[in-house]
Structures are given as structure tokens and as C-alpha cells.
Amino acid sequence: MKVKTIGLVILSVVIFLMLPTNLFAHGFGERYDLPIPLNYFVLGAAATVALSFFVIGFFFKTGSGQDDYRRINLRRFKFFRVLTLIFSLLIKILAVVVFITLMISGLFDRSVADGRENFALVFVWIIWWVGLGYVTALFGNLWAVCNPLQILFTWFELIFGKQRVPILKWPKKLDAWPALALFLLFAWIENVYTGGSNPFNLAVLIGFYSIITWVGMFLFGKHIWLKKCDPFSVLFALFARFSPTEIRVIADGEGNSICEKCLSGCAVNPDLPDCVDCFECWEQADDSMKQISVRFWASGLTRGERVSDALVAFHITALSTVTYDGLSETPFWLEVQNSLWQIIDIIPGNTAVLIESFGTLLVPVIFAFLYIQICRLISRFSSDEMNYSDTVRSFVFSLVPIALAYNFAHYLSYLLISGQSIIPLISDPLFFGWDIFGTVGYTKDISIVDAKFAWVVSVIAIVLGHVISVWVAHKISLRRTSNHKVAIRSQYPMLLLMVFYTAVSLWIIAQPIVE
């Protein structure tokens, strides 16, 4: 009875906090982007098509899909091992300090009274949500090192002892579906819920999320929780597959993979017994088997791993949410809202919120439907050398470069302009009159990014993302088919999807932003 009462109270508080006041969503902060001109759009689209055929027709005449990609193991150098230890310790301390600061800043907000912006809002919505995505894709999975909740839990384990076996066993059928559910909730908070731009509400939401995470880690085990239930660990791990760095546990002398002992369920690839980017395996492995390597960007997407249905659904949702983020600001979406208004208005509740919520759920469903149909065609075009199920589970990674490129283009100006708000705040985050780094007086420079520069970079990024996606899909198909000709033929449907996805990305950044 007590548990139910407490649960009802918590639910009521959450619902109360979620009651929207008006529809100023999309996280936080202002955007000053100009839509790209039509000629840039035409150029980008033309380059997309031309380069796609060029890449397929001329670059990959031969090649086997069974080779692992080239990499350099930096961990063999003692200097590097010492450097990573120091860096890891410093970043962990900084992460915890930042976490505590933003919680205090959110719960005891003084930004309105002082006429300044709030540290928690700026840090969470701009520096962390946007900036960390960039850092992860371009450099490596920093979140795996600096996640403050994981760090604090690890310190707790160091003090009170680590459990050898989790208290509860993670239900196998549950897989990573909770991570998907929580990600959808976050997407709703970002795109629909207005309270996310209120510092106190944000701090309370982070507080709830922290408690849930710590309890989950305690009951099911740290790594299992992070892989199955923590949406941000799963998302940043997906981005990190594109990055040029990895951690790896090599197979033993007899070719046995450490993944066989992994409780959090690494995807085992019999062709590639080494374990890449699993932190549970990393913690368990002998030092001599550990590697930290640099590799070419996007190589990590080509390993040909088959992920579970839950992770396919998660990845599709994450990729489509990035697209919806921009789509929801276009005149087209405004037209959709207007046409749905009278139908949705009869449902109790805020009509605008209901429509936006509907969009947040509908876009991933449409995306998933398209992706699944394309996978059916790929299987057919490969003369069934790739079965439909394997295709769905393998090719989802090939869409990541397009999504990352669009994300890069969409948020570039926002990060560089609105992100400057953090500069004065780091010197006095709690408005105590400090000036730690001498930057309190800094004022934002809105001319730091010229529109023409943003247009050129955006179009190049999206076209490049497309080309990389085509390359990744081709590498994956080479692993799955018997010869080069079958691999190319099987890629025509995916190429169609990629051209469409890239064209949509270009179209979105060519649309005027509607308020």
C-alpha cells in the first residue's frame, strides 16, 4: 500500500511538472539560421546522386568483406597509457563537479532575478545534448568516460564493494526496449514539453532520472543497465561507432572471444571475435588483451554486427528523431498541424501538444516502415544470400552517417552562437559574484558564423555523410554476400533510401524556420 501511495505521489508530481503552459519547446535557446538558397539545394542533391554512382561504380571493383578495418593501437605506448589514466581521472572529477553545479543551478535558479541565463539550461540543452553528440561522432565515446551517474556509482562500488552477481537478472525478452521507451520520453521532453526550458523542472527531471539509473544499476548491474535501459549510453554508443577511436579486447590465442562471458550481451560476430566498445568486457579483460585504437571515421559501422530487434528500433527512432527535430520547424509541418487541428481538437488536452506528440511518435514509425521495406528488397536483390532478418539487423548502421551529417548541419550555427552563453557562466555558474576564468563579462558574438559559411559547410557535410553511408552499406553487403556483383545489386534499394533521406535532409535546411 505504501509503495503504491509513494508511486502515485511521484507520478502526480511528474504529470504536474509536465503540464505544458505554452508551446515553446525544442529544448532551449534561440536560433538564427537562414535557410539554404535553392541553388545550394540543387547542387547538393546533384552531387549526392553523382557521387553515389561514382562510389559504387568506380571505387569498389574488388574487395572482400571479411577483413577487419585498419587501425593503430595507441595503448602499446606507455606514454599513452599514462596519459589516458590522467585524462580519465581529471574528466571524471570535472564531470561530477559539473553535475553537482548544474543541479544546484537548476534547483536554486537565480538567473531571472540576475538577468542572466541559467547554467543548467545552457549546459544540458546546448553543450551536452548538442555538443557532446559532435564530440562523440568526431572523436570518440566521451560519455562512456564522463557519465556522472556511472562515475558516482563506480565510486560507490569502490567504497562499499562491488556485487559479483547482479541482485536481479535482466529479463531476456525485455532486451533494450526500456532504453527505447525512455528515449522516446526524452524526445518528447525536447520537442514538445515546454517545462524542459524551466531550470527547476529540468533539475527535477534529471534528479528522477538519476535515482532511477542508480537503482537500476544496483539491482541489475551497472553495464547491463547502461546497455539495456539508459537511452543516452545507447545513443552515444551508436554515434561513437562513427568515431575514429575505439576500445578493443582482442581474442585469446585460440580465437575465443571474451564476449561469451559478457552478461550485458555483446553482439557476437563469429567472423570478428575481437570485442569492440563493450565496457563490461573491457573491465573483465586481462591488460595484455586491451587496445585503444584509432581508425578511420565510420569504420566502426562496417563490422557487420547484427543487433537485436530492440536496438534496431532504438537506432531507427534515434535517427528519425534527429530528422523530426528539423522537420517540426518547417512550413510543411505547420500545414500538417493546421490540417490535423480540427480532428485532434476534440480530444481532451492541449491540441498543439497532442499534435507534436503525435509527430514525435509517427515519424519513427514511418521511418521504420520504409527501412523494413527496403530491407525486404535488399534481401530479394541479393538472391536471398542475405535473409530479411539479418538485413534489418545489420544495415541500420549504414544510415548513421547521413543522420550525423544532418545533425551537424542543423545544429552548427546554434552550437557556435548560442553555445557561447556558457562562456560567462563557467566563471560564475551560481551567481555568487565569482569570476573564476575571467569570462563573466563576455558577450555573445552573433557574427561568429556567417550564413554563407554555414550553408557551404552544411551542404558539404550532408553530401559527405551520404557518400560515407553508401560506402558503409557496401562494406556491410560485401561481408554478407558471396561476390562483388551480388553486393552491388543488393545495394540499389538502400541507395534509393539514402538518396531520399539525404534529399529530405537538404530540403529541411532549405526551409524557412517557422515559429
Partner: protein, 141 residues
């Protein structure tokens, strides 16, 4: 052969696109002016006369000539310029368009005692007190 054909067609688009960019640049070089003026008339915080979307070129000096039926505060976002406008008195909001982008112009009521009813720094939860008047787009040269 078909790959070459498709690539050739795409190259045609590329050439056409490049031509468009060059002509776009030329038209901007020919239309430079020292100051650009726009007249806007406001009633009850909304635009009654004037363009809802103004387009200017980078480095132009822009002057908005404002007439309002009520006392209000007009706020140009991005540039973060605010001007208090008295009822039925012509006034100006001027700025040098040094930064490209799309900037909202809002109005909000002037409270008693001359204080404005808007937290212009936070941009967090007080947008509901602002009324969107127009947008100013500063395009690159």
C-alpha cells in the same frame, strides 16, 4: 556506361547551380546602399502596415521607422536591441547589420513605472509575454 550517363546528368545540374551562385553574387554587388529604411505601423502590439519579413544585406545600416498606437517595447533578438516606443510618436530603431541570420522582432507591453514586461536575457519561460511582430533576415553579400 549507365553510371557515367547518370554522373553526366548530375554534372549538368552542378554547372547550372554554379552559374546561379555567381549571378546571385553579382546582383548583391550592384545593389549596395548606405542606409536602408523601413516604415512600420503598429497597433495593439501587431503590425498593421509594413512588411512582415524584411531582407537586408550584411553590413548595411538599417533603420526601422516606427509608429505605434500604444506605448510598447520593441526588441530585436540576436542583436539584442530594445527600444521603448511612445504612443503616436515616430521613433527609430537603428542597427548595423554586421551578422547574417534570421532575427525575430517582438513587441511587449510597457508596464506601470516604465518597466518592460519581459525577461529579455533568459529566453527560457517568458516568451509568452512577447508578441512576434516581424522577422529581419540579414543575407550574406
Amino acid at each position: 556506361m549507365k553510371f557515367v550517363a547518370v554522373a553526366f546528368v548530375a554534372m549538368i545540374f552542378l554547372i547550372v547551380g554554379c552559374g546561379e551562385i555567381k549571378s546571385h553574387q553579382n546582383s548583391h554587388n550592384q545593389s549596395e546602399s548606405d542606409k536602408t529604411e523601413f516604415e512600420i505601423n503598429i497597433s495593439n502590439g501587431s503590425l498593421v502596415d509594413g512588411q512582415e519579413r524584411l531582407v537586408v544585406t550584411k553590413d548595411q545600416n538599417v533603420r526601422l521607422i516606427i509608429n505605434s498606437g500604444q506605448d510598447l517595447v520593441i526588441h530585436l533578438h540576436g542583436y539584442d536591441i530594445e527600444k521603448t516606443i511612445k504612443a503616436n510618436q515616430e521613433d527609430y530603431l537603428e542597427f548595423h547589420a554586421h551578422a547574417t541570420g534570421r532575427f525575430l522582432v517582438n513587441t511587449h507591453a510597457l508596464l506601470e513605472g516604465g518597466k518592460d514586461g519581459h525577461d529579455h536575457k533568459s529566453h527560457s519561460s517568458t516568451e509568452e509575454s512577447e508578441n512576434l511582430l516581424m522577422t529581419i533576415e540579414v543575407h550574406p553579400k
